[in-house]
């Protein structure tokens, strides 16, 4: 006989009791480890999904601009595919039931993109056919079949930025018509996306060459997807990729020839083509027949205009390019190169006459096109004097320059500047005047390539052909876009510089061998957004999830785990009660208390070790069940079918170790009573400390009770005062735990004192109730289980959120907006403008609804959805620029700001927040929920982002919006937005203020009018509800698991009552022998049961209501009191059913058997 042998013998002999403990531990381990598996599964499934969506792609180049598609070949990658990637809407061409689907990714790809043969063969990828291959999600959304004709609406490419004078703001959408050639399943590249999201992706693939042609982007791509890029990107870029044109005199000469004769093939201009359009000295180079050769033109340009002009295809040279170009020039030149800014004024007038649509050049005074150096002050204008000039201005006279500039809503506004004539620059016509140079002005299709002003094609600025006089046409014929006036560069930039740039070209001396290479060396690739992203690594990082679901479900399962452990403790304790005499005997024969505890602990540990291992199997089932529940309950109809069970080895280790450790600790706690009992008491079967022990504990319990109540009061006050979410959560959990402790301590004391009370008139009810005091520890454990379940249910119900009436106010979560809309293609028009609305084909009802509505447009930098709807971790959150007009109105409700005395929206004002500005941080607002749960940021924290020029910038959280519609994005001031993202144009997010009764009409009208832009409008309440639905789903999950805990609590209650009845079976039998009826005995047991249930219910409910009081007072929580009452009734019902089971058990025992046992 050894210690181990005795241990094994005990385990086997007491198998019934041990089995119960075993099951309790196994359940705890299953729930604990299963919760960790949920985290593993989310991470694993998200990773699987995103890696499948990336297919073979490991790296991506998406600079946010178009570049040569051949760049893909130059990267030296193991595999690379150029792609034209656009977002837009798709529409069926079915006349009867046309259907438009927004948020469609249109990808122009060639054969290199595809991984699998089926998709590769689905279309002729390298040709120019109008075929489209849809993935199944898009096909289903459209209801499209192979052979159907579809129209994709995407953003039209445009040379000049749309938010400049020459940008086309009305003509934004390009429709691409295609025929469906195949529908491919949503696997691999068919669901390709760079933006990880659990939402199914709508992809349409068209042959790259076809899309290039349709978008007039021949040879261009805007993305390269690759694997194992070997070459350095910096070394592979060309000026083309930067959209830069390097124009030597010869280039410009050839361009001039093409201008005069677009179909020229023989390199000879006829007299009729050049006559009256060239300077005299060039005309003299013509032969006797009047033929002018290209060589002669080149010679003229090289002699009289000997410079190389570097220009951008987007009109303006951005800051990084300007810096590089000027740097190159300075490396070889003694002074700065000419860096002109060219602008088209609406007019130059002297009060009496005007020159309409005059090109003005702003340039450094030293580079003015004059024979001798001249001076020009910043408030002066140098007027070109040309034959027939309508103005009769002299030096010193004042001229007015009227010009259009786009305002913050991208609407052109007429402005004027009064300048003094500081210089007259002669441009006689026949002579080779330095000012006679139309190449100051960058090329602009439809204007500079036209032989006459009357041929200008749809000028995007206010244009009245009637204002053009013959003298203006004459000027155009001879001088084309040569400037009619010059300003200093400083003045020009003050008037016309914009976020796209402040110069239009840089002139280098000619010749300059290898100028292109010199420039490229100084242009850092990242400044143009040319950065190779390791998308595979990013996707893997993002798939770690915005929320640690392991921890979340561990928190959800906390009560279930706690209940399982309480049950383990209770069952183990009951086992000890049954084995009291056995333990007493061991002590009587000289076993030390410690050794007996070791024996019992070893038994418990052995059980826990095996049970936790069995629990790991259960964990797989529990994890799978949770995933199914998550997938089934995920709101918004998003398909989470991709979720698969994953179990990481580390989770097994953590789950197993934690389960064993917690179970053993519980058992240690359960056996601690042994130290308080004498062997004699144990031999007599006593396991409850005597009155003397209570007297000692009574003092302690009084301290515990008072301490817990004081602590809880402190937490509650803290909850009212605190503003931070963490502090509020801490207050809730702290107050809850302390109140429950206080309640249970009170119950423990009460049970002891109630047991001692002398009742003059004993009744069955009192007798029954007093039975609860026979084993106060058991009873308190049971009350604790019920109280915790009640607490959980009450608290969760109190946190339930609905869109309350305060949401709809201007100071509510909706900001007073009824609708929120987004578009796939940016909008450049002012939607409030009746003229804009007049262009739409609207019904009377729609038109009147729109007239009454007020629109606020926000700019958007696309990125990851930062709301709880996105399971992935948002590494590059979506950013929205809030216009000053909206900020001034002070709408929305704030949960907190870093400077309480300042108006919240003022914190975004560019100059207000000195501390942020000093630290070079840009103030930003976040929704409080997004900040806390998804981005894990608090007030004053920083977010790092990358701007359009590839630089890291810091956003500082200065305010938190409460329960707002802005949970998906980070908000910054529009001014900051434009500084950070100058290349993002137009508006894609719209807040619409309208009478709720008119909301549907407004929505319909907008969806009709802006269908091509892919508008999607929804009510703000709907949007908030979709966020709340996630929160409420989590609460429901918490509650469901709490419900399971309640079942365990009920099981505990039933076990305690049955055990009590079993111990008192003789006593009950005696009562029966004395003539008590069954119903009376049932009442006796039920009274004890009812008391425990009532105590548990009261303790849990009171503690929960007090703990959530600060939250209820300060938030929009809308507890469903009726439902709460129903749930509590359920607790009562479950509790009483347990009692009924005990009664049934007690009455089933035959009378004589029970009496004999006694």
């Amino acid at each position: 006989m050894t210690f181990i042998a005795l241990l094994l013998r005990n385990l086997r002999y007491h198998w019934r009791g041990n089995l119960a403990v075993f099951l309790g531990v196994a359940l705890g381990a299953a729930v604990l480890t299963g919760a960790l598996f949920v985290g593993d599964s989310l991470r694993g499934s998200l990773k699987e999904l995103t890696l499948d969506q990336l297919g073979w792609v490991e790296q991506a180049l998406v600079p946010g601009r178009s570049f040569r598609a051949r760049l893909a070949d130059a990267l030296g990658a193991e595999r690379a595919a150029p792609v034209l990637m656009l977002q837009g809407s798709a529409a069926t061409s079915d006349d009867k039931k046309p259907k438009t689907v927004p948020k469609v990714n249109v990808l122009g790809v060639d054969e290199r993109f595809w991984q699998d043969e089926t998709s590769r063969q689905a279309a002729s990828w390298n040709g120019g056919e109008d075929a489209v291959v849809l993935n199944r999600t898009l096909a289903a959304a459209l209801g499209a079949q192979v052979g159907d004709r579809l129209t994709f609406n995407v953003q039209k490419s445009e040379a000049a930025p749309r938010e400049t004078l020459l940008g086309k703001r009305d003509d934004v959408v390009q429709s691409v018509r295609v025929t469906v050639s195949a529908i491919v399943p949503d696997r691999g590249m068919a669901r390709f996306t760079l933006r990880p999201s659990p939402e199914p992706v709508r992809n349409a693939f068209v042959p790259l060459r076809f899309l290039q042609k349709e978008l007039q982007q021949d040879g261009k791509a805007n993305a390269v997807f690759a694997r194992s890029i070997r070459n350095k990107l910096q070394d592979t870029l060309t000026l083309d990729d930067w959209n830069l044109k390097l124009r030597t005199p010869a280039d410009r000469a050839r361009d001039f020839v093409r201008f005069l004769d677009p179909r020229n093939e023989d390199g000879v201009l006829r007299k009729s083509q050049w006559e009256g359009r060239v300077p005299e000295s060039l005309a003299k180079a013509a032969d006797k027949q009047g033929n002018l050769t290209v060589a002669a033109v080149i010679q003229y340009f090289e002699k009289h205009r000997p410079y190389i002009s570097v220009e951008s295809e987007q009109m303006f040279l951005d800051a990084a390019t300007e810096k590089a170009l000027v740097g190159v020039a300075r490396s070889k030149m003694k002074s700065d190169p000419p860096t002109p800014l060219i602008y088209l004024a609406d007019r130059i007038s002297d009060g009496a006459a005007e020159m309409p649509y005059a090109v003005i050049a702003a340039v450094q005074p030293e580079h003015l096109p004059v024979a001798k150096p001249a001076r020009l002050a910043d408030d002066e204008i140098a007027l070109v004097v040309w034959p027939g000039m309508p103005l009769a201005a002299n030096v010193g006279d004042e001229l007015t320059v009227n010009y259009y500039v786009p305002d913050e809503t991208s609407k052109l506004q007429l402005r004027s500047a009064t300048l003094r004539v500081g210089l007259l620059i002669p441009m006689e016509g026949p002579a080779d005047d330095p000012a006679d140079d139309p190449d100051w002005t960058p090329e602009f299709r439809g204007i500079t390539d036209r032989l006459s002003i009357s041929q200008w094609e749809n000028p995007p600025f206010p244009y009245d052909p009637k204002r053009i006089k013959p003298i203006d046409e004459q000027y155009w014929k001879r001088f084309r876009a040569a400037p009619k006036a010059y300003l200093t560069l400083a003045t020009g930039q003050r008037l016309w510089a914009n976020r796209f740039g402040k110069i239009t070209s840089v002139r280098f001396p000619h010749p300059w061998p290898y100028l292109g290479k010199d420039i490229l060396k100084r242009l850092p690739a990242e400044a143009g957004g040319f950065v190779i992203q390791d998308v595979r690594a990013l996707a893997t990082r993002a798939s770690s999830g915005s929320t640690d679901f392991g921890v979340l479900f561990l928190a959800f399962s906390f009560f279930l785990i706690a209940a399982a452990l309480l049950l383990v403790g209770l069952l183990f304790r009951l086992n000890l009660d049954r084995r009291a005499a056995e333990i007493g005997l061991l002590l009587a024969t000289g076993w030390r208390h410690g050794r007996v505890r070791w024996l019992l602990l070893a038994e418990g540990a052995a059980l826990a070790i095996v049970a936790a291992a069995v629990g790991l199997l259960g964990a797989l089932l529990y994890g799978d069940l949770m995933l199914r529940m998550l997938a089934a309950n995920w709101p918004g109809g998003a398909n989470l079918a991709f979720l698969r069970l994953h179990a990481a080895p580390i989770s097994y280790v953590i789950g197993y170790s934690a389960s064993v450790a917690m179970s053993v600790l519980t058992i240690v706690w359960a056996t601690r009573i042994l130290g308080k009992l004498s062997p004699r008491s144990l031999l007599a079967g006593e396991t409850t400390a005597g009155a003397n022990v209570f007297t000692q504990s009574s003092q302690l319990s009084r301290f515990v009770l008072i301490g817990a109540l004081v602590g809880a009061a402190g937490c509650l006050v803290g909850g009212v005062v605190a503003t931070g979410h963490t502090a509020k959560a801490g207050s809730f959990f702290g107050a809850g735990a302390l109140l429950l402790t206080a309640a249970l301590t009170f119950v423990w004391r009460w049970l002891h004192e109630h047991g001692a009370a002398k009742t003059p008139q004993p009744s069955l009810t009192r007798l029954g109730a007093r039975n609860a005091g026979r084993h106060p520890v058991r009873s308190v454990l049971t009350v604790g289980l019920l109280a915790s379940a009640t607490f959980l249910i009450t608290a969760v119900e109190a946190f339930h959120k609905e869109t309350g009436p305060e949401f709809f106010g201007k100071r509510g979560g909706s900001g007073g907006f009824t609708l929120i809309a987004e578009t796939d293609v940016p909008i450049f028009q002012d939607l409030n403008d009746p003229k804009t609305q007049a262009n739409w084909d609207l019904t009377d009802e729609g038109a009147s609804a729109l007239r009454a509505a007020k629109f606020y447009a926000l700019r958007v930098r696309h990125g990851d959805d930062a709301s709880c709807l996105n399971l992935y971790q948002p590494l590059k959150p979506r950013i929205a620029g809030v216009p000053a007009g909206l900020r001034r109105e002070g709408r929305f409700r704030f949960a907190g700001t870093i400077a309480e005395k300042t108006k919240p929206w003022d914190l975004l004002e560019p100059d207000l927040l000195e501390s942020s500005r000093a630290a070079n941080a840009i103030p930003a607002l976040l929704d409080a929920n997004t900040a806390q749960w998804i981005l894990k940021k608090s007030l004053g924290d920083d977010l790092e982002i990358t701007d359009d020029s590839g630089e890291k910038r810091t956003l500082r959280v200065v305010g938190l919006l409460q329960e707002s519609i802005f949970q998906s994005e980070v908000l910054i001031a529009e001014e900051d937005f434009l500084r950070l993202f100058p290349r993002r144009e137009g508006f894609q997010l719209f807040l619409i203020e309208t009478d709720p009764a008119q909301a549907e009409a407004v929505k319909k009208a907008l969806e009709n009018a802006l269908a091509d832009q892919g508008i999607q409008a929804e009510s703000t309440a709907q949007r908030l509800q979709s966020f709340l639905a996630i929160e409420n789903m989590y609460l429901e999950t918490f509650k469901a698991l709490g419900g399971l805990g309640l079942l365990l609590g009920a099981a505990g209650l039933a076990i305690v009552l049955l055990r009590g009845v079993w111990e008192r079976r003789g006593e009950l039998a005696l009562l029966r022998a004395l003539g008590f009826r069954g119903a009376q005995l049932a009442w006796l047991v039920l009274a004890e049961n009812a008391l425990l249930v009532a105590l548990g219910l009261a303790a849990g409910t009171i503690a929960a209501l007090l703990a959530v009081a600060p939250h209820l007072a300060s938030s929009g929580a809308a507890p469903l009191w009726g439902r709460l009452a129903g749930l509590l009734l359920l607790v009562v019902a479950v509790g009483l059913l347990s009692g009924a089971a005990a009664v049934w058990g007690s009455l089933r025992t035959p009378l004589l058997t029970a009496l004999r046992r006694e």
Partner: protein, 233 residues
Amino acid sequence: MNSIMPLVVTDLAKSFPTRGGDLVVLRGVNLTMQPGDAVAVLGPSGSGKSTLLHLIGTLDRPTSGSVRVDEQDPFALSETDLAGFRNRSIGFVFQDHHLLPQCTVLENVLVPSLAHRNDNRFAVRERAYRLLDRVGLTQRLDHRPAELSGGERQRVAIARALILKPKLLLADEPTGNLDRKSAHTVAQLLLDMHRQERTILIVVTHSIELARLLPRQLEMNDGTLVPWEGSPP
């Protein structure tokens, strides 16, 4: 000549706190015994017989007074040392035998030997065999308590009580649950073993028949121990 008295009980008193106030059970019990002495303690239920036995057996602590065994005050020992003392010096036989139902007869006898490190397990095992032979249970070594009669169970309890050669053998109503014949056998066995082992034997009983088998009889009266003045045999 002052000789060492193995058991000296002096002014032993015990009261229990109850909700209704202290309940005094023993008030100044004195008793002295030598090895080989045996005494029966009689008295009505609730007179404090078992309490006295529990105090002498160190299962409970006295309110006042002392118990000395071989000049040693066991209650001055730490809990750990007290357990060791009980293990080495005291053997108990209870009315309810308290055999471990999960263990065999032999294992039950060996249970006390598991309480502390024992370097001579083989010798203990040998003694267990001999004791069980002496109580007539050689054929029942592998049986479980549930498979034994009441008398047999009590014989196992006697063997268990003697396994570590205690100085004191304390029996609390050892025949209380047995029929007359079994009671006689068990009582005789208890005495035989006591004589062979030269232990101090104290038997608490209601049974005059059993008491008379012992050389000395005392009676609990109002919390004190007085000579028994019962009817002569």
